[in-house]
Point group: C2
Chain length 150, copies 2
Amino acid sequence: MTIKHYLPGIMMKDSNETNDLQKAGLKATLPRLKILKFLESTDIRHLSAEDVYKSMLDSGDEVGLATIYRVLTQFESAGLVTRHHFEGGHSVFELNEGKHHDHIVCVKCGKVEEFYDETIEERQHVIADKNGFNITDHALTIYGICSDCK
Amino acid sequence: MTIKHYLPGIMMKDSNETNDLQKAGLKATLPRLKILKFLESTDIRHLSAEDVYKSMLDSGDEVGLATIYRVLTQFESAGLVTRHHFEGGHSVFELNEGKHHDHIVCVKCGKVEEFYDETIEERQHVIADKNGFNITDHALTIYGICSDCK
DNA sequence: TGTCCAAATGCGAAATATTCTCATTCTTAT
DNA sequence: ATAAGAATGAGAATATTTCGCATTTGGACA
């Protein structure tokens, strides 16, 4: 669905999503576009593959579960989403928007808050250097009881 | 198997492991003793339930896989081991000895190094306070390429 | 030390989560 | 529009973990 005809004089691409996919080296297939648009439109930040599958089904966009898994993994490789391994054994995915952050998770209700701490970021690089590693990524998750659950 | 008869004058308990289990509120059953002894004797720090199962089989101590899972979970609750969710989707367990530490994992070869950083520990408490959480635990894993794999 | 009861174990079935296979359908370059 | 290769869908296959239940065991107490 293009809107270029409604904005004469401005040369628009078919959609931001198509473009984002192509920049990521991924063909702009319908399932991928739908999944990306879904991730951008939902206000739930952390979703399992199953969550994505069911939510999309509910809104009438059926995409096979295997494809959801494949596409989310591709999005992860492309840097479009981040995969987290919170407690529970299954992966959850988060659309990468804005800046990097870490998470603090309530072990009672599952609520997830985001935070960013420059000091911690810096220390991690010091630690990686000390151990001879080149950091590719990191995952810091603090677990605790949130104020609602105390 | 007790050794108290060989140390006259010293009142020894049946074994450290039996004692550790009882202090943890767990009956000193044979499978639990074997698993605990195995964890204490191996020099591999991070093991999956399957790893524990197979290694014990190899050394002639067969314990059902379901029991391994149950016992490791109980040990976790009792604070004897820590469960980690490194990349790969399955849990690995680590015997708690010495002090808390975090991990830096090589994404190529899987090597795991431990580190402890007081500054990061402190910042986490500040962050939890700021968000109204009582920390119960935390998991910081840095991912990178180790010096061998560069 | 023998007995008894609750708790623990073993084993296979079931549940979950994720990946794979392969026939069919799209995408995109031409 | 067409062809070649990539992507998808559906279900089978795998991997990991849990569950149900019959049997065994640990340990409190007589």
